[in-house]
Symmetry: C2
Subunit: 113 residues, 2 copies
């Protein structure tokens, strides 16, 4: 009855798509970029790029600004923070050094509490 959640429901879903991550990477590097700039750089069909941009806009990951006939897109990177924060919880799984430090901090915290 229910299908997969919409790509426009949140950043996690929007970012699950590889193309959209590429668009985000590009905006991160280049600042403001017009649709055609992405079309050329990514080698995708223009309508497809516009559609992905729409999804990104709907979750607030990008903003647009008109400039002549063109539309300049900009990354709102701060909206990727929820994802970063979530994955940060698992740092101990790959960063043993950090794990040791944290465990020590936690254990001393427990002693005080």
């Amino acid at each position: 009855m229910m299908a997969r959640s919409a790509t426009t429901s949140d950043a996690f879903n929007a970012v699950a798509e590889r193309r959209r991550r590429e668009i985000i990477d590009m905006l991160s590097r280049s600042g403001e970029v017009p649709v055609n700039g992405m079309v050329e750089a990514l080698g995708l069909a223009q309508p497809l790029v516009s559609k992905h941009l729409r999804v990104l806009r709907e979750v607030g990951l990008v903003s647009v600004r008109g400039s002549g006939r063109r539309r300049l897109y900009r990354l709102n990177g701060e909206n990727l923070k929820p994802i970063h924060d979530w994955t940060k919880r698992f740092e101990r799984f790959w960063d043993d050094q950090l794990a040791r430090i944290k465990e020590q901090a936690e254990s001393s915290g427990r002693k005080k509490a």
Copy 2:
């Protein structure tokens, strides 16, 4: 002609689903957990939990181990690192302090190069 990429294609897609993130969070807190443990804790139907676990297994995010009639699942958190690494690139968007430090480091790096 082509639909959304499979949830089993990579961690990004697997993690796009809220329930699966909840399962991951639970495993992160509790270590090894049997299916029923998650069923009760998350209030989901057992078949649904098994299906989500299968997706997580296919992308390597969890491992299983038999124990009597039960199957104990464990988190392979290190496979969340790609997501963490990707989002890390955008830290400057929310961490201005860090941004300044990095920019300074990069500019001095450029001078040397």
